[in-house]
């Protein structure tokens, strides 16, 4: 049951509209109920080949050798693809925004860093033949010690998961292993508080579990281009990622998608597109690479786990005077998007409350597990869980009704937030009031009368004295180049090839190599941190 409470903020809305606000039927609904909506896997292509990957059985191991001889001779096999066949076998997704260092190979070469990491791909006439060929590949692994706990990973002497980040943590601003948030003086507030409460919370990893698994079909198009039918959540994000990994100009790729069987964040990583296109380049045939359900569940990137410590100071009257958060994002073996979630998380602390002293350190930590990625509520869901459980405990501690406790501490228009921006367009108080009313949860009259639009600002708008930070803060260096205007670069040598490359690999860049100066033509992106790393 859903009702609209039009009496709230009515003076801020223009209700005189024709189409907006109407319960118009979805444009795609007839297609959905007739089964004619066309997803990436519903395109018919003659001569379709199937790609499957061999995945690491170890959480962490050195690759001493790979023998693909038998697989190459197996029935139905058209091509075996190794790391050396990938033109630029090292990437990080956010290099498109010039954020972070390339740290993840498309196919592992020297080491595997998580169980399930792709090592070799096979393109065959049928999925079954591809699987049968994979079973004949022999990889000589030397297992290495692995680390799975974020706090263990940060200790001295922990196994190094990802050599690009030897301290097992993402590097922020070229100097810190975490993102800081500093607002006021939490230590002083803790010393002066009536009560303190420190708790540890653990968000589990979560699988996106869209009913359509990740996948794509790539095929040679006319004029040396490749068409890619894809379920990518960011069409150009995936296209540009592939153009970089495959070292082709972006206009060699034609991506078609936009109709996706659920995503929830799990289809941002271009898990299948680079290899499928490479397969199409190497065989000259359409290549389909779709994850099976077990692959999707075990090795498709999940929502990462987060461990969060929250320490609060609260007064007898219910005012929260300080909140200190230390949070660890479990990024798995590679960065993907977790480095960004850290920023989003830091900005979100201390939640929708006006607290005069806030301190947070948020880490992106590498462990030997499947790389994590975005999911619905990325960077926020877990910290909301921690903060709101903490709020319940604080209300219990000071003996105040939890609804009233929220309203008492809620941010209001004009307040200064911990990331030093004014709160505007707030509505937390009204949401609490209406939810309480709907649930027949009694709150006192004075709390029913409060408003997000009154009582904020004034002293609550001030940026407090913050010990240990330079006035005005240090500014990062000027923005620099990104993948969108990458400089000429020779084809990259594989990081480490312990064995001879597979026999006679035709150049993967056969369809007219890109003039290295080709530019995407899109707006230049700049980076949060300005450190150009490629």
């Amino acid at each position: 049951m859903l009702e609209f409470r039009k009496e709230y903020f009515a003076d801020e809305r223009d209700e005189n509209l024709n189409e907006i606000g109407k319960p118009t039927q979805r444009q795609d609904m007839v297609g959905h109920v007739t089964g004619t909506t066309t997803y990436f896997d519903d395109h018919k292509l003659a001569g379709l080949l199937h790609l499957k990957v061999l995945r690491s059985p170890h959480h962490h191991a050195r690759i001493r050798g790979i023998d693909t001889g038998a697989a190459e001779r197996a029935p139905g096999v058209r091509r075996v693809i190794r790391g050396a066949d990938v033109p630029r076998n090292l990437n990080t997704l956010l290099s498109l925004l010039n954020f972070g260092k390339d740290d993840e190979p498309t196919l592992a070469v020297d080491k595997v860093r998580y169980k399930g990491e792709p090592v070799v791909a096979v393109v065959a006439h049928s999925e079954r033949e591809a699987f049968e060929a994979l079973a004949q590949i022999r990889v000589d692994y030397e297992p290495l010690p692995a680390v799975f706990d974020v706090e263990e990973a940060l200790k001295a002497g922990a196994p190094v998961v990802n050599e690009t980040y030897p301290k097992n943590s993402f590097e922020y601003h070229g100097r810190y292993d975490h993102q800081k948030l500093r607002f006021g003086d939490v230590e002083r507030a803790f010393a002066e508080a009536d009560h303190g409460l420190e708790e540890r919370y653990q968000m589990s990893p979560i699988e996106h579990a869209p009913t359509e698994t990740n996948g794509c079909v790539a095929a040679p198009e006319t004029n040396g281009r490749y068409v890619v039918y894809t379920c990518a959540q960011g069409l150009f994000f995936s296209l540009d990622t592939c153009a970089k990994i495959l070292d082709v100009p972006s206009n060699k790729l034609h991506f078609v998608g936009g109709t996706v069987g659920g995503g929830f964040g799990g289809k941002v990583d271009s898990l299948t597109e680079p290899l499928a296109i490479l397969g199409a380049m190497l065989t000259g045939r359409p290549v389909r690479y779709v994850l099976g359900r077990e692959e999707e569940m075990q090795f498709g990137s999940p929502r990462g786990a987060e461990r969060i410590y929250v320490k609060d100071a609260v007064m007898r009257d219910g005012r929260i005077t300080a909140r200190k958060v230390t949070s660890y994002f479990d990024s798995g073996a590679y960065t993907r998007l977790s480095s960004y979630a850290v920023i989003k998380c830091a900005a979100h602390i201390p939640g929708p409350y006006t607290i005069p002293n806030v301190h947070a350190d948020v880490y992106c930590v590498y462990t030997n597990r499947v790389p994590a990625t975005a999911m619905r509520g990325f960077g926020v869901t877990a910290v909301d869980f921690a903060i709101e459980c903490q709020m319940d405990k604080l209300a219990h501690l000071v003996g105040i009704d939890p609804m009233e406790f929220r309203i008492l501490n809620a941010y209001r228009d004009g307040d200064m937030k911990a990331h030093r921006r004014e709160a505007k367009n707030t509505a937390l108080i009204e949401c609490v009031q209406v939810a309480a009313e709907k649930a027949k949860w009694p709150i006192r009259e004075e709390f029913r009368r409060m408003s997000s639009r009154a009582g904020g600002g004034g002293a609550r708008a001030a940026v407090p004295h913050t010990p240990g930070t330079p006035a005005g803060g240090a500014r990062p260096p000027a923005p620099q180049r990104t993948t969108y205007d990458r400089p000429p670069q020779p084809a990259q040598a594989p990081i480490f090839e312990p064995q001879k490359p597979s026999p006679s690999p035709p150049s993967p860049r056969q369809p007219t190599p890109a003039p290295a100066t080709t530019q995407h033509g899109a707006a230049r992106f700049s980076s949060v941190f300005g450190t150009r790393r490629r």
Binding site: Q179, S204, E207, Q233, P352
Partner: protein, 340 residues
């Protein structure tokens, strides 16, 4: 052994859009000679309704019926650049880009109509039903279809528009974390009522009551879809799901939907929702984006309800029967708190 009921609540806000390297989206709008419009995007419809909401935004801005607009997405050859569908950015960022493109197309359409009616374009208005008329004189009117024909075959005008919406990069201060991470925020408060079986450790949902503030609800049915489905996912995250049940121990990972457990149609509960609309000053018609935030209040509300029911605090998700039983054992049994 008994079943214990409890209620818990949580309140949240949620940032709309990402801001790491600048957050742009583009849109193109054009009319065919019959006055039917196509919106070309490279944005993604994951089921959240991108095609549908941008269609309504375009129709409203052009002043034509929604049936006269079709959204074509996503083809990288025809759809201009968009960052993608994530970070609750679709409605806000893409919606704004579509508005800008539709405004430009509307400008040409009104000029073409003005030429046909021999008046100033500024004297014209649309009726939202496919006609353009002189303000205050509805009889001096021309159909959008006839304007399109005239523009194409007589005047040589393209009724089309380009739009981009860019939230520029916000730098992040390394020392203080000062930044502009988002342009607006959605809000919610949710009350969960649950029942804990202290013999099996199972937690059953009894009901949910909630209030969500998400800017203007551009399409109330699409909003309802997100809120109902998102709250279900919140329950699933709170009580059921994980690919690593003994995290950080990576073993015992599920391989199929028999092992990866989610609430089925028999595990859902009534959910009464109130929608509040405080328009975002920079949103398309005030819209924000309900897609992600709807799940978030459910997790802590359920955890707080479990405390209310049996007196144990479980700080590790998901709150499985195993964790409930272990917590009850450690506590020496259920200690129901004051009923709410």
């Amino acid at each position: 052994m008994a079943k214990h009921r409890g209620r818990g609540m949580a309140a949240i806000n949620y940032p709309i859009g990402m801001n790491l390297g600048g957050d742009p989206s583009q849109a193109l709008v054009h009319s065919n000679p019959s006055g039917k419009f196509t919106v070309a995007l490279s944005s993604i419809d994951l089921g959240q309704g991108m095609k549908s909401v941008t269609r309504q935004i375009c129709a409203e801005t052009l002043g034509v019926p929604v049936e006269d607009v079709y959204v074509d997405t996503a083809d990288s050859d025809t759809g201009p650049h968009c960052m993608g569908s994530f970070a609750s950015r679709g409605t806000h960022r893409v919606g704004n880009a579509v508005m800008a493109a539709a405004r430009e197309a509307r400008g040409v359409m009104m000029e073409a109509a003005a030429e046909e009616l021999e008046v100033n374009a500024s004297d014209l208005e649309t009726d939202g039903r496919g006609n353009i008329h002189v303000k205050g004189a509805p009889h001096r009117s021309i159909a959008v279809k006839d304007v399109a024909i005239a523009a194409q075959f007589k005047q040589g005008k393209t009724i089309s528009g380009r739009g981009i919406f860019l939230v520029p990069l916000s730098e992040v201060d390394p020392e203080t974390g000062e930044m502009s991470p988002a342009t607006c925020y959605a809000h919610a408060c949710l009350v969960a009522e649950i029942e804990v079986d202290d013999e099996t450790g199972e937690v059953a949902m009894v009901r949910m009551d909630s209030a969500y503030e998400l800017g203007r609800a551009l399409n109330p049915k699409l909003v309802e879809q997100q809120l109902v489905g998102g709250a279900w996912m919140g329950v699933s995250h709170a009580l059921y799901e994980t690919p690593e049940p003994y995290y950080p121990d990576p073993s015992h990972g599920p391989r199929d939907f028999n092992e990866y457990v989610m609430p089925g149609p028999g595990d859902i509960c009534p959910h009464d929702i109130a929608v509040l609309e405080r328009p975002a000053p920079d949103g398309p018609f005030g819209g924000k984006g309900p897609g992600e935030m709807c799940a978030n209040p459910v997790l802590p509300a359920v955890a707080n309800a479990i405390f209310n029911a049996i007196g144990v605090r479980i700080n590790d998700l998901p709150i499985t029967p195993e964790k409930v039983l272990r917590a009850l054992k450690a506590q020496g049994g259920a200690r129901p708190q004051a009923r709410r």
